[in-house]
Symmetry: D2
Subunit: 393 residues, 4 copies
């Protein structure tokens, strides 16, 4: 990953901010809420707390702080995620059965690692490699903050009594500033991250692509537009769907975005402040890539590619929804994954996932950028996903 | 269910004892331990607390206490178990995802119902029908106490760090007082519960059965004997197993009783006080009916029927293991299930389960009796099950 | 298995009859019909042909005919069923993918073994043990003839075009001669097979049982009565069902007996002569034990035990439906399974299956008797099963 | 799809050739071999015969031949594949249970449609639209010829006795003419099909792409090279695999390409002429995209993109293996799917599949071309797939 030179002070300050924010996001939770894993793709809050701490222990303290002793020998096993090189990991599907260490014990682990980190960073010389690793560490933690919020929403949103996480806290109340077609004539353009500022390996190398003429909308699809699609029988018409999408709709009996509930003649949705009436002017949220594709097909339009998006992003507002593109998540020319276990970070997921561009209301402030590539499997609805439409010219 | 006349004082005293014991059993738990459901047959401790309380609310307070208002409208939905007649129930497999109501809120529910029950029982005339229902209620709760303990063992025993529930608390440290063959010439004998004392519907009617001559052992199979079976290749020889049992062994790669771990050259097992060396003289525990049958086959012996067991039980020590019989759980002649939802209690499970007789170290004191019929599916290992051998004469 | 002395002539004649009947039952099939396995419990016709032949090769020719060479080394592997002792067997669920050996090659195998058998039986001295094994062999083949017919019905009945197996061939057109309550006062009675005639190991030892007073119907439940149950909402009322039965109904969305199709306002069913209108006076067929139990519950009655059935069978007509009892399939007192692989025949299935008594329109002539015990898992509908009701007196 | 003008004579001749070749490919089969479906992705030979015939009936005879009556009303239901618009289709996973219509009846159907087609094409004026549809029809049938061969290999290759399809018929005996690195400096290049000759919708529009400098090998990976990968522990090293690929290896316990069998110390593979020793100089075949990616990673190289392949294909030999690229199967700029059910042909599969380029020894002569895009899910091994390596310059 590319990084710019940062000072000790900035490192300490930024690290503290990020680490504190994770704890703040957990403040509204009851101890019980930290435990379950209602779906294989959801991780318990407790696991996020432990895993982000383990990351700093494993990749910063162990290699850079001579003589550091692990807080607990087994935590590496418990809080590793997909880093196969770093020893056995607990089966992802069993995370929700882990009651011990307790929530308090995980906070103790967290406090210990924070303290050692602070001591270490105040005292030691901060090499370029160390600086880079810490920067990856807090970016990694910011990613988990977003997952933590969406996982918490999934857990609470599947409680029979629809409890509120926090009053007046919502990820879905955003509206479009405008809704116009922006036109581009195409040709050669550069995409990907340059050398200034932090960026992930998957944003490199910056390279040329050739775009055909296209137009893209300045606003996102709204709840109201999507309700029209539902009412027009969108979920019952196989011709609108990708073959896999149609199988997904039928297997799971999908009839709406995630968290939507038909109540009498209208629609409500679960928000982190509880169950609410749907505002038709709000931007649509929590749809799968399959649904995004079917909606676009119904409109006679299409999703943009990730390069069309990147080429136009300075011309529209973004940052409230992760926007599905119709680009598969694949390496850029010249992509090389970093050496060692950190190298397992991004490259190994480069198959059968679709690229999302932008950021969402759940994204940590300052975490995303125009070249940022998020990615999920087509079926997932639980992120704050939305739709921006495009067309050929 | 049959019941004898009991006084108000005894009702209040017994009720208090039983209700308090459930809470005591939960004392060693951390809040986190109340939540997960690591297997479909396990219920979270929180659910046991709520469900046993719901039982008194639903079957005592609602029908007998005029004007009683439910503590919370949705708790009926949340804490119902298999009582299909009493409205929707939450899917059994999703219990482990229920973080709300919190543990504290469930204790509040419990305290409220206990208080109302006490007020009600002190003030009201206790009819025969009410007395009977309350007696079912505490017997029901005692059953759940045993399940709670075995479920807690399952939850903690599947933690990677094998935490202790309580020091010096163990369900498996019991030894045989003797080990002899007791012989019986058979003939007509009476089985089933008479009219004195409490008994379940499934123990009635008391009736005659005809037994062929048989012998039964006064002691139970020990860990040492079972280790011989393992070392003789018992788990690899299809001829010893029922066809279903052999499929079960292969599908789940079973190689030992539940909670056993091969460590170096020996065996350890998880107990509620943590991981321990196996004492070969202790009575074997945590085996499925399939394993009990295969072991008996290997010995050239067999399991007793439930009627042989009942006919001989006064002649040997029992009460430390639930003992698998080779009797299917079926109705006795003249069995009638009670009217209404309480009638769903026992009769609806009378297919594809095997009868266990006796009691175990996890059973609440005074809960079992010679005519008591416990029952589980053949595959289950997580109860405190053991083997008593029999043979034809 | 017990057997009476039989002459060489009778052995040859009976063997020929049974072997020929299997081939005759296959005459209406197209080559294609011999292949598929549309459900795990169904076996392809080709497999039945091969397996019943293998039985004679394995248990008669190999042990009794010195110097006999197997027809083909691999057929033992291909046509073994559950005889684990006799080497690897092909996974039951993959039988439908076996296109080779071809149908013709299996018939060649069959002809070869028949020829050798005939030569051998004409020339050799027939010892008691050999006689006994051959008798088991043809009884085994008669069992497979019934399975063959019901499997063929399952295969053809699941073709989209509902082809006919044979004109005027039906298993379901039988009516009751009478429908009365027959009453019995109970007491000690003897059940199980004696020493005369052929019988299976599972019918032994003949032993005493004690029966309470009961009544049993002389006729079976009809389609018309069952339609009343359906129309009364029988499939929607959880209180009528065993807990497992209710789960089965919901998981498989069962709404009628197997092969029934609602057409417009009425019912048709698939028969081996094609799709037909249901005759309400015909005896009900193709119901699971769960359905039989729910129907009896709805009537306020119950199924008989296998011993009540056996005690009364001389007093009513039987032989058109296998009749579900509410007895679990378990060993009789003194049951010993035969030595060697033939010993895997019956005993290993003695768990979680229910006993059926009688015989059906698909049973080979002369195959059943009053002490005969058939057995299937509660969920199965594809045999020619029916309901006879009983009650306590 | 684009097409050039063709004459009546050429239409008739080409149609006859293609239709006959399907029948020829089936000649070595026994009737039994036409039936089973041992994996969900495999289709029975009988289904291929019926489906390719249905295609001409549905898309040529019905719309273009006024007054044409379907051969059989239900065949549309039986032999439709993924054309959701054209009415119900039989569940893909149940194709292997369809014994009727028989093989002979499907050949009769085939002969009938061929005869009508010939009459119709000799008599009628062939419009551009009709010509185009027929051309799609035979290209469609050529695709099914390849699937038929690979499906037959799967069916016969999973028989316990490894029967031969045909002597001296093999898909795997091909060797590299050369093995050099070919270097390209990149820049703008045109890809996709132009207007001359037949091509599919997914090859359009022809468009510009920008390539970075790269090198590509003139030869394919050999069995010998892949054996080195296996012996170096390739299947046990998680760092070489995509995350999904590693899960696939572990779930299915994959240890080699499909059809490979370790025999003693060496390797054999099943070919359409039976089991054979592996020739280390032959081109590797039957590997998944996951395996191709892991192998490339192990070599420190990568797969080419589909555009790199297309840009270089004139410079190397191709046509013996379908070559996995690391391009996802997605629409080209300006892609529009045709109107109506034929429009379901390609576009609906454009998600979570990877592009293969080239052709294979199983491909019908003349069917492929440099712009041709084949596509399969990453997990599939049963096509004649291979690996061509590339690298950045």
């Amino acid at each position: 990953m590319k990084t710019k030179t940062i000072t000790r002070e900035r490192v300490l300050e930024q690290l503290k901010q990020v680490r504190n924010r994770t704890v703040e996001l957990c403040q509204p939770l009851q101890t019980e809420d930290y435990i379950p894993q209602p779906a294989p793709f959801v991780s318990p809050a407790k696991w996020h707390l432990g895993h982000t701490t383990w990351f700093f222990e494993e990749f910063v303290l162990i290699p850079f702080f001579e003589g550091y002793k692990r807080y607990h020998e087994d935590f590496s096993f418990l809080f590793n995620s997909y880093y196969n090189l770093k020893g056995d990991r607990i089966l992802r599907v069993n995370r929700g059965n882990m009651t011990r260490p307790t929530v308090k014990e995980v906070y103790d682990y967290r406090a210990y690692v924070d303290q050692v980190l602070q001591y270490f960073l105040e005292e030691m010389e901060i090499s370029g490699k160390l600086e880079e690793t810490i920067e990856i560490g807090w970016n990694h933690e910011q990613q988990h903050q977003e997952l933590l919020l969406t996982d918490v929403k999934y857990i609470l949103g599947h409680q029979p009594l629809f409890p509120s996480y926090k009053e007046n806290f919502t990820l879905v109340d955003t509206k479009n500033a405008s809704s116009d077609w922006l036109e581009y004539e195409g040709g050669i353009t550069s995409v990907g991250a340059g050398s200034e500022g932090f960026s992930y390996d998957n944003e490199h190398e910056r390279h040329s692509v050739f775009l055909a003429p296209y137009a893209i909308q300045s606003g996102l699809v709204t709840n109201g537009e999507y309700i029209e699609f539902i009412e027009a029988g969108g979920y019952e018409n196989p011709l609108l769907w990708l073959d896999e999408g149609w199988a997904w709709v039928n297997e799971h009996q999908v009839k709406s975005p995630l968290y939507w509930h038909r109540v009498d003649d209208g629609w409500k949705y679960y928000t982190l402040s509880g169950l609410k009436d749907i505002d038709v002017e709000n931007q649509l949220c929590h749809i799968s890539h399959y649904e995004a594709m079917a909606f676009a097909e119904w409109k006679g339009l299409r999703l943009p590619t990730e390069f069309e998006w990147e080429n136009s992003a300075r011309d529209f507002e973004w940052g409230t929804r992760w926007e599905w593109t119709n680009s598969a998540y694949l390496p850029y020319p010249g992509f090389r994954k970093p050496e060692g276990a950190v190298g397992e970070y991004n490259g190994k997921f480069m198959v059968n996932q679709m690229v999302l561009r932008g950021a969402s209301t759940a994204t940590s402030p300052g975490h995303s950028r125009i070249t940022y590539r998020n990615f999920f499997q087509s079926k997932h609805q639980w992120q704050c996903t939305g739709i921006r439409l495009a067309k050929n010219l």
